[in-house]
Amino acid sequence: MTYRPRARRLDNKPKVQQKPCAGIKLRAAFVMGLFVMAFCGLQVKLVTLGMLDGYEPAGNTIQTRLSADMRRGDIYDRNGELLATTLNTYSLYADPKTIMDVGEAVTKIAGVLPDMDTTILRDRLRRKGRFVWLRRNLTPQQAWQINALGLPGLGFRQEMARVYPHQSLLAHALGSVNNEGQGIAGVEATEEERLSQGQDVHLALDVRLQQALRDSLMETLVKTRAKAVWGISMEPDTGEIVAAVSLPDFDPNHYGSAHEEQWLNRISGGVYEMGSTFKLFTAAEMMDRKGVSPDQAYDCTSSISIGRFRIHDPYPKSRWLTLTEILRYSSNIGAARMADTLDEGEQKRFLDELHLLDRTDVGFSHVATALTPQRWKRIQTMTIAFGHGIAVSPVNMVAAVSTLVGDGNWREPSLIRDRAHAAPQRVVKPATVERMRNIMRDVVENGTATRAKVLGYDIGGKTGTAEKNENGAYLKDKHLASFVGVVPLDKPRLVTLIMVDEGYDGEKPGGGGSVAAPAFASFVRRAAPILGITPQITGDMPLVAEHPRVQRVGYETVSFNWGARR
């Protein structure tokens, strides 16, 4: 109010008005300048966004989303057999607003798809919206029939479905994809990059051998009432994994509905105390590095006590045993005595050369790391000599044994064919290989693995029976039985490791010789004809060859009673 008189006075003085006028023009220029600068700034930012930054999308979210529109690559086995492919399917939807007669539509659709619930169908067709899914992934024939009904308001959307024609046969090797078509397990996950770009992937696996191994293992699983059975078979000449089965498994077409226990890939995703099969490495090291002959004898008269540890044999011979005999009878005392002559660190170096302690990524999606003792002194060296106090993965195990019986070179195991590999590395001398083969033949002919014998085939191997360790205590009645076998010994084509978790031979807890070795024999009977290995029948052998008991367990779904086990 007090300012009003002054304002009036201003009105009468034209001179005063000239000043603010200049100020106002200045302000207008200032505002316009601000506008121009702001927009120029934006244009500069635009140019930098577009050209200087060359904006790279962070992460691969965009990449994978774009590639969802591209057809995912197929997966083949070594012989070109199709293992995984992507098919176009049709998904049926409806626009409820344009459906003229819901009752008629329901009857007609149910006529083509009899398993559809008509009340649900009716509800969906009466919904308010303009879009409802009726059924995903129809076969082309079903889609054609629905289309032929001539109902207005129905439509199809083309979708892609990942299909695994061999179902559970290659479950853990292939893995599966999620709803967006991205690999979530197995090769689907490890080769996601190539597959999502539409490239095909060729595996080293041979579907025929895979089938042979799975049949043998399934037979063993049922016969021995084991918790789990798994096996892996490798070509020593190339390091290629030709068969890999872990039971229980799942159907990759229905990955989501499988039990967690079925997802576990025990071949590479678990590490185990192998037990006596480790004696192969002890023997090989003694002969190769210490110049010990297979006839060198060791004192196995009585058990060894070191501190609170006591090393004894389950079936003591109570005499001096040669190196060959130590493996034949699987003497823990003998293996410990041999390893006791090694210097500190020598054993670890040898196992390292065989890549037993590595985390070997062969193409499986789950890879476990070996467990080694933190203190690796005299007592540890002695227990590791017979496979206790160290846990390794089956993949590493089979590659290491392949080295000892193949040509003395370690080769990187591989599941995927078109992948670069490390060069073969020499570990043991050819003479050692020759001796190892003889020792393993002896184990099968005269030792613990006589049930691995198959008439007419030259087989070698080594059994292993590890007492399962639960919460630090070894359990007498729970065994992890294993057998690693070679066929044929003169020119090895396959090295196979089979492991049986808590299997039973009749009422007794099964050991390597009683449950794993027969599984190997069963595999050889199936696999040898596929590989074209002819049986050598000599004069003193019975003329009537035993025939493999062909028991197809193949595709049937075995129900695992998980609740009772836990």
Binding site: Y3, R6, A7, L10, D11, P14, V16, Q17, Q18, P20, C21, G23, I24, K25, R27, A28, V31, M32, F35, V36, A38, F39, L42, Q43, K45, L46, V47, L49, G50, M51, D53, G54, Y55, P57, A58, G59, T61, I62, R65, L66, D69
Partner: protein, 387 residues
């Protein structure tokens, strides 16, 4: 001279509008419709056709406003502001909630967004306020309080809706009008300082969690590329991949493959850049600059303060809309939901802006008319016309 102006016929006054300005505005709208046609997958339906209907309606509004007597607008300024304020409070009490924000009122079958109305009303009310205040007094504290209150009340109401974009727009536009009215530079220095100081307080007490999320996302969009950062990431990818000439009309991948949400509304700039590249963006920015330059020119020619400030208010609104939107899609500012003026699909925004252009037309037609009060921006004092 004054009496001649009063007796101009309705038709004559309509024909005296600023034709170049109208042409520039139409060019921008046509450019926008082309983009809407593309956003719908090379189809007039459902965006471009509806936008054109609104455009025709808006043209009627422009001509109508141009023909209107400036006195009428002057008299309506405060009542309109009052009504807008009441409606804003009504929204607060019983508004229609859409997408988590309460911004609409249902009035007789059609939905009204009072915050849009408030944008026009605030311009008019502030223009009228400063029209009555001579330059010498506007920086005095008692004369600063009413305009600040006029801004602050709708500001708080819109923040509460919550519509941060409109709130900021109201605040910045009001401040701009005060600047044009001649309030001392010191006041703005103080305002900016105070605003900075208020940031932590506002963060703590006023912002909703989704608003905070947007701001955090803006600071680091890669932190959440599939969630809140998705818009910005996709937008930047689209702009970044376009190059100088773009991917051609209908050639944008991010927008057409549906990676980009809201491509026809707030993120239409991205679609445009993808299709027409840097050149397309340069054309649009130049058109905006031309439009604003023509409006400012009108403001400076106005003999009465009211018309001049009204035009300034409109220019500021257009500028702020365009600037905030472009900053937003380029990732320079948080996503606040401000459309690209004359281009984004949406009836309310288009009509509000065309109404604003109508006010500029009115100011241009009545540029020589004197209203009682302080000097117009032209610096030429008028006599007591209404008196």
């Amino acid at each position: 001279m004054e009496s001649v102006q009063i007796r101009r016929s309705l038709m004559t006054r309509m024909m005296q509008i600023h034709w170049p300005l109208l042409a520039v505005m139409c060019l921008i709208i046509f450019y926008g419709s082309l983009l809407l046609y593309d956003a719908a997958g090379s189809s007039l339906d459902p965006y471009a056709d509806r936008q054109m209907v609104r455009f025709v309606f808006g043209l009627g509004v422009i001509f109508g406003l141009a023909a209107l007597d400036v006195k009428t607008i002057f008299r309506l300024a405060y009542p309109l502001y009052g009504i807008s304020l009441v409606l804003l409070i009504l929204v607060e009490l019983k508004g229609h909630t859409a997408m988590g924000a309460t911004r609409w009122l249902n009035i007789g079958g059609f939905r009204l967004q009072p915050s849009e109305m408030m944008k026009v009303a605030l311009i008019l009310a502030l223009a009228r306020y400063y029209h009555m205040r001579p330059l010498g007094v506007v920086s005095k504290i008692p004369y600063l309080i009413p305009p600040l209150l006029m801004m602050l009340v709708p500001f708080i109401l819109t923040v509460k809706q919550p519509d941060l974009g409109t709130a900021l727009l109201l605040g910045m536009m009001g401040t701009g009008i005060m600047f044009a009215a001649g309030v001392s530079w010191k006041f703005f220095a103080l305002l900016i300082g105070g605003g900075m100081a208020a940031i932590p307080v506002g963060w703590e007490f006023f912002l909703r969690s989704y608003q905070k999320q947007r701001i955090l996302t803006f600071l680091d969009p890669e932190a959440d590329p599939l969630g809140a950062g998705y818009h910005i990431m996709q937008s930047k990818i689209a702009i970044g991949s376009a190059g100088v000439w773009g991917k051609g009309f209908g050639g944008g991948t991010q927008a057409h493959l549906k990676f980009l949400p809201e491509k026809h509304t707030d993120f239409i700039f991205t679609l445009m850049t993808e299709d027409f590249g840097m050149i397309g963006a340069l054309i649009l920015i130049s058109l905006y600059l031309l439009l604003m330059f023509l409006c400012l020119d009108v403001a400076l020619r106005c003999r009465n303060q009211f018309s001049g400030l009204m035009v300034i208010g409109v220019v500021l609104t257009v500028f702020l809309y365009a600037f905030i939107n472009m900053c937003m899609v380029m990732g320079l500012m948080p996503v606040v939901g401000v459309p690209l003026p004359f281009v984004s699909y949406g009836g309310t925004a288009l009509l509000t802006l065309m109404l604003g252009i109508g006010l500029v037309m009115n100011a241009y037609v009545n540029k020589d008319v004197n209203l009682p009060g302080a000097a117009g921006l032209s610096g030429v004092r008028g006599g007591g016309f209404i008196r």
